[in-house]
């Protein structure tokens, strides 16, 4: 008894057996409904100094440029009502161009890139826009099922301006043939909702002869209460 059959669901269910790790980590009891608005409180508010200049450029922290296809990634964060989610923290992390994370737990036999850690953060501006400079991450194999490979993706964490807006998700790339066999992506029940996690190639967003442009807009839940001054 959980949320498997909730009609019109946007998020994946907790239990999605094809993604093996959900089997022992998904609750079996029914979720408890709290009175409406129980979680709809404002905050948290991240101090301005939390993000430093250059934190949104993942390509400048080594001695040289990282390997891989350089990309400019821009997007706009809004709520369901189309209102911009302003001055709000966006954090990303990703594998390098070979599909290896700069993480001690990643034992995939692909080379680390000393010039790429794969960590970025920024605030959205007054219109909800953000911008990152990075490289396109590689695919990598994982142990979920025979010949399993994750599609290329960038992890996104958005704090929003209220706990109900909190979102952790992954951004994918258009035309990736691995999307069809990826249980993480396929766990999203609605095809249209799945497609909202695929960025679009947008050449003019790039830098001529330097970087390819992509756009990825994100829609968070609407919040009745957002902090003052936003």
């Amino acid at each position: 008894m959980n949320d498997m059959a909730r009609p019109g669901a946007i998020d994946p269910p907790y239990l999605y057996p094809d993604y093996l790790s959900t089997r022992l980590r998904s609750p079996k009891e029914a979720l408890v409904e709290l009175p409406a608005g129980a979680f709809d409180v404002p905050g948290p508010l991240v101090p301005k100094g939390f993000v430093r200049k250059g934190d949104n450029d993942l390509t400048i922290h080594g001695k040289r440029a990282p390997l891989g296809e350089k990309m400019i990634l821009v997007g706009r964060v809004t709520d369901e009502g189309g209102r911009p989610v302003r001055n709000s923290l966006v954090e990303i992390w990703q594998a390098n161009a070979s599909g290896r994370y700069h993480h001690p737990g990643d034992n995939h036999d692909a080379p680390l890139d000393p010039n790429f850690k794969g960590i970025g953060r920024t605030f959205t501006d007054g219109e909800g826009r953000y911008r990152f400079i990075t490289i396109k991450p590689g695919s990598y194999p994982w142990r979920n099922h025979p010949f399993a490979w994750r599609p290329q993706h960038i992890h996104f964490s958005l704090l929003g301006n209220a706990p109900v807006q909190r979102l952790v998700t992954q951004m994918y790339f258009p035309g990736d043939p691995l999307l069809a066999i990826d249980p993480v992506y396929q766990s999203i029940p609605d095809a249209k909702a799945r497609e909202r996690l695929i960025c679009t190639q947008h050449l003019q967003t790039g830098i001529e002869m330097i970087a390819l442009g992509y756009r990825f807009d994100i829609v968070l839940a609407g919040a009745a209460s957002t902090p003052m001054g936003l």
Partner: protein, 172 residues
């Protein structure tokens, strides 16, 4: 209405992007009474969940401001990862109010969306009186939301994701 973007798992390597310096030391404009919340997260087989991220949000202590930009991290917000043994520890302040509670979101590999729960730092009779807990009135499961005061500032609260003694999680 535009449709929301769906959630995806945080995966096993979130430490890269989401580890905050002093994420487990929750600050406020006024400190109030110190609380140390410690616990352990286990899965349906009783095995420790060694790669979870725990985020907390709560009312400020008596006399402190609510949501406010802190000095280094946002006031009132905690973020810690579990160790390989599934344990986490958050240092914070006692929330103001008659029935102090801390809202908790748990993210992990294998969780395609966060689990939302709450830990009360109050005895059961007071928790029963919280109108938001009406759906759990008289239920044994309510116990899973109540921390055990283990002396001084220390509170102990364990989380079971699945199975016997499963923690209560909320729909959102």
């Amino acid at each position: 209405m535009t449709q929301r973007s769906p959630s995806q798992t945080i995966g096993p390597f979130f430490h890269l992007g989401l580890r905050w310096r002093d994420g487990g030391k929750v600050a406020f404009s006024t400190r109030g009474d110190r609380v140390v919340l410690a616990g352990r997260i286990v899965d349906g087989a009783g095995k420790p969940v060694g790669d979870a991220l725990v985020e907390t949000w709560q009312a400020p202590p008596k006399g402190a401001k609510g949501a406010a930009r802190g000095k280094s991290n946002p006031f009132g917000f905690g973020r810690v990862e579990t160790g390989k043994d599934g344990r986490f520890r958050i240092e914070t302040s006692m929330p103001a109010g008659d029935v102090p509670a801390i809202d908790v979101a748990i993210f992990a590999r294998g969780l395609l969306k966060p689990l939302r729960t709450r830990v009360y730092l109050a005895p059961r009779e007071k928790v029963e009186a919280d109108p938001q807990m009406k759906p759990l009135a008289g239920s044994k499961r309510l116990e899973t939301l109540i921390a055990r005061h283990s002396g001084g500032a220390e509170y102990r609260w364990d989380v079971r994701l699945q199975g016997d003694g499963e923690t209560v999680f909320f729909a959102t």
